[in-house]
């Protein structure tokens, strides 16, 4: 009369264990689901009924109550279809309670009784409180990433019943039928010219410094940005698991037989809402783009076209590396450590932005730029002007360096950062920075002069020093930070807000 089945539900990017309790009693034939189900959970009633009937199993015309415990956690998605069906079978005596004791069930049911894969298998399997898990064959590879759980892929309900009754053996665990699209990272070798922009990209990758590319349309800003993930080192084991968990929760298929090993690349359109960018939005609290890009690159093209409110929502996650989403239904923390790359035009007319070179009046140009708030602009350690390459360079056959060569230098720089106890220099705090990279007396004098000239804030000073250290790492230099490194860092951090005609004293 009563059955209790192990299952799990997804809240944000994390799985939560759930017990599906099914009670079948005499009374008017009804089927009720309680325990904070969302719409797709409630619809499970119809799917379960059809699936049972299609599989040639009896449907109890009695009073059925399904409780999803713990009742305080909201349940979302069709992942609980399969455990509900199993619970019904047990409660009706079709299957022995003992046979499902240590087994969890995760899957969506088709009306024909087939078991379908569900998004988020990795975090879901991670959460279950049993040593065996039954999933759709399409989820098997992903589920197997969680050791030491035994994974039993099941194609349909009928096969499952026969296996649980012991009348037939469990089906062989085949390989995944879901094709995962391999992401081909574009290579820097395609970029012609742009020597300083390439260098800035290399510095950005080595120190995980956010970078802003300013330039006219057609200068190759997006082309450059796309090549940044290819410069980053592979994800570490823990990072890979974290990234895979988030992307699995978002419904992405994991690469065949493994985790995501390469840093992700996300480029949301500038029409994106704040919820789309940082997460939340519904009771299921989906991760936002910034979390989907965790461990990789978040590219915001046409930065000036994003709603200012949306951009400001990014500031806190960029600083903390996590997003905390709070909704009525609960709250969730998502990792959000990204390398931010943004691109924008120097002015609304699409001209080159050169002084005296475009048609926009000064106030129009400034209004366009000011859509990006000062505090957000401050987060970009590297801000460079990207120029249209000259025709000679586009047609010339002198190819640039390959991404793999640059990635080697980046990896070596990251290695030096690891010796300081961080994954990249950007994470160094003031004390660690002073210990890792003392300034030479001449560099100190130079920075003092820059501070006095009002061209640098306290935060800016820290950033300049960090970038100088990254450049030292890239060029393999040891010892105190020299003035030329500080100067290079200063040159790679232009101020697009500086109004024209400031030379008038």
């Amino acid at each position: 009369m009563l059955a209790s089945v192990h299952a799990a539900t997804l809240l944000g990017v994390r799985g939560h264990p759930v017990r599906v309790e099914v009670h079948v009693d005499n009374g008017l034939p009804t089927f009720n689901v309680v325990g904070l189900p969302d719409a797709s959970c409630k619809e499970a009633r119809d799917r379960v009924r059809a699936a049972l009937v299609s599989s040639g199993l009896a449907w109890p015309s009695r009073r059925i109550t399904v409780n999803l415990a713990p009742t305080g956690v909201p349940k979302a998605g069709a992942v609980l279809d399969l455990p509900m069906a199993v619970g019904l079978l047990v409660a009706c005596g079709e299957v022995e309670p003992a046979s499902i004791e240590d087994i969890a069930f995760l899957g969506e049911l088709g009306l024909d009784g087939s078991v379908r894969p569900i998004p988020g298998a990795l975090p879901l399997v991670d959460a279950i409180e049993a040593s065996i898990v039954v999933v759709a064959p399409g989820n098997a590879d992903e589920a197997r990433l969680v050791t030491p759980i035994v994974v039993r892929p099941i194609p349909d309900l009928r096969t499952l019943v026969l296996a649980l009754r012991g009348e037939e053996p469990w089906p062989e665990a085949g390989t995944s039928i879901v094709e995962s699209v391999a992401f081909d990272e574009p290579d820097l070798v395609d970029v012609r010219g742009q020597r300083m922009a390439r260098f800035a990209l290399e510095v950005s990758a080595a120190g995980a410094h956010h970078i802003l590319l300013i330039g006219p349309p057609g200068a190759g800003k997006s082309m450059l940005a796309r090549r940044l993930p290819g410069l980053l080192p592979d994800l570490t084991g823990e990072q890979a698991l974290e990234v895979s968990r988030i992307r699995s929760a978002a419904g992405e298929a994991l690469p065949t037989g493994g985790l995501f090993r390469r840093p992700p690349w996300r480029s949301p359109h500038h029409g994106a809402s704040a919820a789309a960018l940082v997460g939340g939005g519904s009771a299921a609290m989906r991760p936002g783009e910034i979390s989907l890009a965790h461990g990789g690159v978040l590219f915001l093209d046409e930065l000036g076209e994003f709603a200012p409110k949306v951009l400001d929502a990014l500031r806190q996650p960029l600083e903390d590396g996590t997003v905390q989403i709070s909704r009525v239904a609960g709250s969730a923390d998502y990792p959000a450590r990204v390398l931010l790359v943004a691109a924008m035009n120097p002015c609304p007319c699409g001209g080159s932005g050169a002084p005296g070179g475009c048609r926009c009046p000064e106030h129009v140009r400034l209004k366009y730029l000011r859509r990006v708030s000062g505090p957000l602009l401050d987060r970009f350690d590297l801000r460079i002007e990207v120029d249209r390459p000259e025709p000679v360079e586009l047609l010339g056959d002198r190819a640039g360096e390959r991404s793999s060569a640059v990635a080697e230098r980046v990896a070596a720089a990251r290695e030096r950062a690891r010796a300081r106890g961080v994954t990249a220099n950007v994470e160094l705090d003031a004390t660690a920075l002073t210990a890792a990279a003392p300034l030479s007396p001449e560099a100190t004098r130079l920075l003092e002069a820059t501070l006095h000239a009002g061209r640098l804030s306290a935060r800016g000073l820290h950033r300049i020093r960090t970038v100088a250290l990254t450049i030292a790492d890239l060029t393999g230099r040891d010892g105190p930070i020299g003035p030329d490194l500080v100067d290079t860092a200063l040159s790679l951090r232009i101020d697009p807000f500086r109004p024209a005609g400031h030379g008038i004293r």
Binding site: G356, G357, D387, D487, P496, H502
Partner: protein
């Protein structure tokens, strides 16, 4: 009708300048329309004619078919204007009101084809009487080169006792006055297109006040007049009329300073144009002037020669440390047009760190000016 007559009777004590001020407060009241209104009328009669709202034949001759709508608009606006109140406010604000024919009225404007009937002034009105005046005009969207030339010109002229006339706009205009103020010497003359209580552009407030202190600010617009697009070309004719020579430093292919040139040619004032790089959009207008036969300004002294004055004092010695290697190479590669770091990297074969640090050094030592990622040589 009756009320308009009453105004005339009541305000009979108001001087002509007072009536003119009231007339200038009317919307879209340019010099030609005002001239038409005053054709055969005293200013007080002209005001009464406006209040009547009748379409006037003299105005129709200037504006054509729109005369009915215009006079109607004037009549409506005139209802809200109390000429006496406007006049007392003008005097209370400390403005000097110079009517055409007054002793203080600039003599060079007396025979102007379109003289300003009234000029409002603040500062030293006698500044206009200096022996020679030169207008330095140009684009608001200038390059570092243009700004440097304007500053240098302003300084050299002021030092030679020549008053700099300009429009106090952003870019070239402001730079010329800033240069003149820094050099001391002859008082600057600013001719603006707004009321003297409306500082436009607001970014030049400091410059505006300094010109008013050291020299004079002139305008045709009564108090409270905000920036209107048509007033700027109209103001430019006064700049051209006041100047003995007009120098255009930088101008885009279609720029407001070309109105000043047109007005100067109408008034037989010599125009000099400063040559610029053929790639620079900010020099397209000036280079075109040169092509059309306008004499070039190749040295700062050229303008003094055009005025019949001797050359100016030599420039102060350059105090900047002379650049070492590779900075000298970078400086030479930059040329005189705005250049990006990427463009420099194309021209000089230096490792990124060497190039970027060299550029920062050149900025610090004053050889380069950095503006939003563009580097420009400083003379």
């Amino acid at each position: 009708m009756a009320s308009a007559d009453a105004v005339v009777a009541h305000g009979a004590a108001l001087p002509d300048a007072g009536w003119l001020t009231a007339l200038l407060c009317l919307p879209a009241m340019g010099p030609r329309r005002l001239g038409a209104l005053l054709d055969g009328r005293s200013p007080a009669e002209a005001w009464a004619a406006v209040c009547s709202g009748r379409p006037l034949a003299e105005v129709a001759a200037v504006v054509g078919g729109r005369v009915g709508a215009l006079t109607g608009e004037w009549a409506r606006a005139a209802r809200d204007i109390d000429p006496e109140l406007v006049w007392s406010a003008t005097l209370n604000a400390g403005l000097e009101v110079i009517a055409h024919g007054d002793d203080a009225y600039p003599r060079c404007l007396l025979d102007d084809p379109e003289p300003a009937p009234v000029l409002f002034a603040v500062g030293r009105v006698d500044a206009v009487a200096v022996p020679s005046r030169v207008a330095v005009v140009g684009t608001r969207r200038c390059t570092r080169y243009g700004r440097d030339v304007a500053t240098e010109l302003g300084g050299a002229l002021a030092a030679a006792g020549v008053a700099v006339v300009s429009g106090l706009a952003l870019g070239i205009d402001g730079a010329a006055h800033a240069g003149a103020l820094a050099a001391g010497g002859a008082p600057p003359i600013g001719v603006v297109a707004t009321g003297l209580d409306v500082v436009y552009p607001a970014a030049n407030r400091r410059l505006w006040n300094r010109v008013a202190e050291a020299g004079v600010l002139l305008t045709e617009a009564p108090l409270g007049t905000g920036p209107r697009a048509w007033r700027f070309p109209s103001r430019n004719r006064i700049i051209a009329g006041l100047a003995d020579v007009v120098v255009v430093v930088e101008s885009h292919a279609t720029g407001g300073s070309l109105y000043t040139v047109e007005a100067a040619l109408e008034r037989d004032r010599p125009v000099l144009a400063v040559p610029g790089p053929i790639h620079s959009p900010a020099s397209q207008g000036t280079n075109h002037l040169l092509a059309e036969g306008c004499p070039p300004l190749c040295r700062i002294d050229d303008v003094l020669t055009a005025l019949g004055l001797v050359g100016s004092a030599p420039l102060p010695p350059d105090r900047r440390p002379s650049p070492g290697e590779p900075d000298r190479r970078v400086l030479e590669a930059a040329g005189w047009s705005p250049t990006t770091l990427d463009a420099l990297a194309r021209r000089v074969d230096l490792p990124p760190v060497d190039l970027a640090s060299s550029v920062a050094r050149l900025v610090r030592s004053g050889w380069f000016d950095e503006e939003r990622g563009f580097y420009q040589r400083v003379r």
